[in-house]
Symmetry: C2
């Protein structure tokens, strides 16, 4: 099996992303919800009718596209009309994935704005639009990578149990696939670890004089209700498309 | 005293930056030094003769300038010819700093490329130019904020001991100022905490199968030899310019 599909390699990547996601969610929670940054046109003509977060995310993706971020099999852009890379392509000779078009970022954007931000941030507007948007962009990029890593997880699971998964894929049995890829004890271990890290960071970051702006339990909820389910949806979509 | 000058508020900000800096240095250490990304012109005309990191950092700063990052008193750009903000200015009514022009980012760039990267990364070229450059940009921005926070620290110290510091400033006594702002026990506490966090992250991130790519002691060295001294240089420069 390719080194990239070894569970130990995958877990290493997911652990790195976990630090970034937890930390950025706690950072975002410093600021109020600031709903105006998600409203298209709220800042008038200067953003050509886009929302501030749309504008910011797209501009950052344009820069990253030029340094070939989205040529990597584990990176997925939120926008489609991005410039070509200015660096010559890297040969991903070891890409263990089958060619596929799975990209759930449009859904992730909606989930992030409508579910994640209201869960972690108190309501209101503190005018910290740039700082809030900066946290959002980093969080969205990290969560996107985390949920799309489901492709590597799914490929790894397929190679361990090709007959069982092939048969479910050919029948288009989504419910059966969901059940086959679900490992409740692994999910619980992730939630326990996320809770531990969130409690540690919240304590450290609130410092001596500060008061924590977020309950660590909110971060665990985001993982339980959104990040883990979206990751599993990616796994199912990838298997259906590549083995269906 | 303004809330922003309270040691507890300052420490909260510095703790947040510490997480980002330590984590990004460990991330950067995954990749080899890749010296080509710091060489002007190495990628030919497409970057207009700039180095890849120059290009990348400048493009990101252009985006951040437009969402008014550099109008905040605790943010300092690396480049001067940035676009105007598209968001209306925030009134930083509580800015506790005196107007000043201290910006040591040009020196930080040199220190980062010539000292930090060689300390944390093994020599060689692994062609991971985009990923390395991404870590560099995040690290440089976080270290810049960390060292320039010296302005808030210096203002806080000045308000506690105005007579002593005024007299040193008027005489232009750099050595005396360095001695007056130095708190060896605080520095040692920072180094101990950085060491503890670096060991924790290295262990977590190396995971089960992985091997850590960096000795936690290297991260402590970066703080001891570069980040803390640069922060103190900012304190001295700020005091000399505003009270000299």
């Amino acid at each position: 099996m390719s080194e990239q599909l070894l569970l130990s390699s995958i877990r290493g990547v997911l652990a790195r992303l976990e630090e970034t996601i937890i930390f950025q969610l706690i950072e975002r929670a410093q600021f109020l919800r600031n709903p105006v940054i998600y409203q298209p046109g709220a800042f008038g003509d200067i953003l050509a009718g886009e929302s501030l977060v749309d504008f910011h995310l797209k501009e950052i993706e344009k820069v990253h596209a030029r340094i070939r971020r989205y040529t990597s099999p584990d990176e997925h852009p939120f926008f489609l009309d991005l410039p070509e890379p200015i660096l010559p392509p890297l040969a991903y000779s070891e890409n263990p994935l089958r060619p596929n078009t799975v990209n759930i970022n449009p859904r992730l954007r909606i989930v992030y704005e409508e579910e994640v931000v209201p869960t972690i941030c108190r309501p209101g507007d503190d005018r910290q639009y740039g700082s809030s948007s900066l946290c959002d962009v980093i969080s969205l990029q990290a969560i996107s990578k985390r949920v799309h890593y489901g492709k590597f997880v799914a490929e790894s699971k397929f190679q361990v149990a090709p007959e069982e998964l092939s048969s479910l894929c050919r029948r288009g049995d989504k419910t059966g696939l969901q059940a086959a890829i679900t490992e409740p004890e692994v999910e619980q271990a992730v939630l326990d670890r996320v809770g531990l890290k969130a409690r540690t960071y919240c304590r450290e970051l609130s410092g001596e004089g500060g008061d924590p702006k977020i309950e660590p339990a909110r971060v665990v909820e985001i993982y339980r209700d959104w990040i883990i389910p979206l990751n599993k949806d990616v796994q199912v979509a990838y298997l259906l498309e590549t083995r269906g």
